[in-house]
Symmetry: C2
Subunit: 394 residues, 2 copies
Amino acid sequence: MPGHDLPFSAAEYARRLDLVRKEMAARDLDVLFIEDPSNMAWLSGYDGWSFYVHQGVVVFHDAAPIWWGRHQDANGARRTVWMDDAHVLSYADHYIQSKHRHPMQDLAGMLRNRGYDTKRIGVELENYYFSAKAFLTLQAELPNATFEDATGLVNWQRAVKSDEELVFMRRAARISEKIIDGVFARVKPGMRKADLVADIYADAIRGLDDAWGDYPAIVPLLPSGADASAPHLTWDGRYMESGEATFFELSGCYRRYHAPLCRTVFLGTPPQHFLDAEKALADGLAAGLDAARAGNVAGDIARALAKELKAAGIERSARAGYPIGLSYPPDWGERTISIRDEDDTVLEPGMTFHFMPGLWMDGWGLEITESILIRDTGPAECLCNRPRELFVKD
Amino acid sequence: MPGHDLPFSAAEYARRLDLVRKEMAARDLDVLFIEDPSNMAWLSGYDGWSFYVHQGVVVFHDAAPIWWGRHQDANGARRTVWMDDAHVLSYADHYIQSKHRHPMQDLAGMLRNRGYDTKRIGVELENYYFSAKAFLTLQAELPNATFEDATGLVNWQRAVKSDEELVFMRRAARISEKIIDGVFARVKPGMRKADLVADIYADAIRGLDDAWGDYPAIVPLLPSGADASAPHLTWDGRYMESGEATFFELSGCYRRYHAPLCRTVFLGTPPQHFLDAEKALADGLAAGLDAARAGNVAGDIARALAKELKAAGIERSARAGYPIGLSYPPDWGERTISIRDEDDTVLEPGMTFHFMPGLWMDGWGLEITESILIRDTGPAECLCNRPRELFVKD
């Protein structure tokens, strides 16, 4: 192990590598190349904002994993991964955004030199950072290899959190609470939205005395009024207005671990349809939390929620949540399970989700959500502890 | 045109579409599908944090462009793009992160229904958001189409900035100056790094009275001491120490336009090798700025810089800059031109670059950079106005 501090114990990294190798064996894979930065960090400890160029972790059965990336980022790898320096390999800078060269030519050369060019290689075909061109280049360079789609292979191993991971997620949850408390304390009519976001960021990054804040994988989202009918608009320089609702979709982040928390503020007196939706959502959340038990399936949560919403006349087609944990931009979800009717994944103790039944209606929006942990027995635990209600302020 | 405010004039969007269509014609493309969020925003006005799911803008010669994306994000599209609502199309939520379906099946259906399934279709093979699986799915769904690699087609049209764009970039530059001034005012030994970052974010987002700050496409980078040998490590909860240098790689952002500015702080008395490197870098930047003239090529800037660095005994292999402008995470570069020896792209008035000769040395790092504009005549203009020197503070 290197001289620097790692966020997790050696046993924890060994546990992760073991899980991945078992799944590789089950799929008869000799080599796994992962480019997803969340998977890279989870397996190797690597942490840096360098995922805008090609890099990855290569997992073998018969040798330690290799961090592979841009030459100038190898310094960062040596300072963050648990593997020794002999397992940090890099490619020259002239491969970067070149018309003539592609970094995958270098990766292919490395695999060829080590005798893996006729093996079965897993790659993440559906991933932000493994481009179509990367795959085509790797195929062309290694014509005798067999490529298998290993999208989500590592992500699925991340679903059940260890105790060490839950410590981080609970710290993230404390930061989430701090952010939302700050919003409620400051928000008022006439406040420029960008100023509110400046405070949100400051709270998120300052974190707590014993838990500095990392950058969340999604920026704060806080659309108002009719803009709140769209879930993903970012802020601007307009002013908070009386008579409008604004939802706040936020997460604290501790060492890349997230615990999202969404709440909605109404400035002024909310109309009845808003209060009705609030009640339906609170009932739906309570029913969903009760269904979020080990042994049930993800779809059970969605159905419990939908039943309460439907009773209040609300039909909702979007999924109602996703697994959370360690993440890099552009998403804090793990992209495996979805809380929706068709998902029959069995819930296991230690799984964590953002239970997220956002309502994006015609001309308005309402978000009240919870980050949840599936327990050994009983309903899910909410990682944050804030009232599940609309926040009304004059 | 829709009822909402657009960041640019109708003439500006028409100019952009015209440029893209001309290049499509030059490459004999009937259809262009762009998934890069920067290209989407530049062409259509679309702005939202929804690029973690598949979406895109489809450009035709014989019809207006189409925004295509997730159902819940169509509300955001209708509120941000210049095309009318008939040109906003969406797919159902059960395509999201599904084991059974892929959003590209929906896109293929749309293209088939409109008679483009036997045409020549350009796609961005090397892009964060167009996955390998997306390409394979599109190919399988449209077996009679011809796919061409259109990576960078739109990016290259963005290289020369319009006057309207330069107004935004100058606002971003004012925000960059404000951020770096704030760092210099606040930084001192014993300050927790996360607290410094909290203030950086607050300054960046608060922006100026007439220019609210948008989220930069890269988070603040500020490694200290030996960590500064690695260019892309993010912050932590440690404390600023005397006797160490910290570089600050930052950018203000105004409505997605960037003007990065990097400076280095030394707390205490810098050693001679640091002062020598500072002088070499200042000389190299001055020489590079003088070479950054319309009619010269990108490589001329790199060579002018390298000559000065070499005279001081510094060999640098990484590229020394890239074009900047409108960007979404994970990168604020445009991924076309590189300021390096082999790049013979002719510089044109209106091109903007981050001239970025970072020094990541053995055990320390130094960054002094400029965002620059190529002028009609004479050397480049620096968009920010701050001394090009090491900032020393006790």
